[in-house]
């Protein structure tokens, strides 16, 4: 009886490890979007940006971030848990170069389990902006931003936990002009 129990316990432990491992891997993979469906737009675009920073490259990049500089130290903290950042950006000479079907390839993935749309700003003048979050319980497991204008298409995908407030504060650093925009939380505090 004892040996039978030990056998079952061992099998259960191995099964639990396998399930746990595969679940963690699936979760990490789950927040990564397949952006290769947009690659064909690069031939039509006047400017295209393709950034693929995987976990290994994130580690390499982190080594170049200084601990002595306050800004870089903050960025190092911000990217500490991030598993990857992927960007596709296209700028076109004329409108109508990308189709709804192109956008649907991304939106379909963002309708998957775990993803929630945080913001959807629609404007004929400034274009549309959609911000999606992948939630792992109460923690953010990934971020996706889909920006569309008549002559522009941008997709940003951050894989892994990300601090939105810290990320928003990055604007204005490293030569990026600060637009004087603060997150809703701090504005509310100021109002009080």
């Amino acid at each position: 009886m004892k040996t039978l129990f030990q056998t079952k316990l061992g099998a259960l432990l191995i099964a639990a490890l396998l399930v746990g491992g595969s679940a963690a891997a699936a979760n990490a993979q789950g927040s990564r979007l397949q952006l290769s469906t947009l690659d064909h737009l690069a031939t039509k675009a006047s400017q295209s940006v393709d950034v693929n920073i995987d976990e290994k490259l994130m580690r390499i990049a982190s080594t170049a971030l200084s601990n002595e500089d306050a800004d870089e130290r903050e960025i190092k903290k911000l990217v500490a848990g991030i598993k990857g950042i992927y960007v596709r950006s296209f700028e076109f000479e004329t409108g109508g170069q990308y189709t709804n079907a192109d956008l649907e390839t991304i939106r379909t993935q963002l309708r998957g389990p775990g993803w929630t749309r945080l913001l959807n700003v629609m404007s004929k003048k400034e274009g549309n902006l959609e911000v999606y979050l992948l939630m792992n319980g109460e923690q953010i497991g990934g971020l996706a931003v889909l920006g569309t204008q008549d002559r522009e298409l941008i997709v940003v995908n951050i894989v892994g936990p990300v601090d939105l407030e810290k990320l928003a504060k990055l604007e204005g650093q490293f030569g990026v002009p600060d637009l004087g925009i603060e997150p809703a939380k701090s504005k509310k505090n100021d109002d009080k």
Binding site: I75, V87, F174
Partner: protein, 159 residues
């Protein structure tokens, strides 16, 4: 007394020996089929041996692969993974402060390789900065556009 009886059972037997034979004869070997006692179980511990051996082999193989990969990665020429910018973005040039790279001496690496690694790290950092900046910009833009009507509304209320 005829001793031949003791050797090959020929001749006349001694009565005492014959008596002894009769007494001890009851303990003579008798051929019977083997009967195992019921309820006796096989020693189950033996079943674990192959499993333990397989698990140990797999563990050793995984460890060896890990050590080999670690060593291989250290020795091999590092490569930047699929980072490509078709044309530079029209954003403000990145003005990052002078970078400091870990001052710890690298083991088993020649200066050329260290230089290469530093360049790779700098390139990766630039890509990271660009991606983060873009994400931050878009996030702020979204915040701004969602807040503007509310702020205007509040200003009207205040006025």
């Amino acid at each position: 007394m005829n001793e031949d009886y003791l050797w090959d059972k020929s001749g006349e037997p001694d009565p005492q020996i014959q008596q002894l034979e009769e007494i001890l004869g009851t303990l003579r070997y008798q051929q019977k089929p083997l009967k195992l006692p019921t309820g006796l179980s096989m020693h189950r511990r033996r079943k674990y041996l192959p499993l333990i051996a397989i698990a140990a082999t797999v563990a050793i193989a995984v460890l060896s692969a890990g050590v080999w990969l670690q060593f291989h990665n250290r020795e091999a020429e590092p490569t930047i993974l699929a980072v490509a910018i078709a044309s530079p973005p029209p954003a403000t040039p990145i003005k990052s402060p002078p970078l400091s790279v870990s001052k710890k001496p690298l083991k088993r690496q020649n200066p050329a390789l260290v230089r290469h690694n530093t360049q790779e790290a700098l390139a990766a950092k630039q890509q990271l900065m660009f991606a983060l900046r873009l994400a931050s910009e878009k996030l702020n833009s979204a915040y701004r556009r969602t807040q503007t009507p509310t702020q205007i509304k509040n200003q009207h209320k205040a006025g």
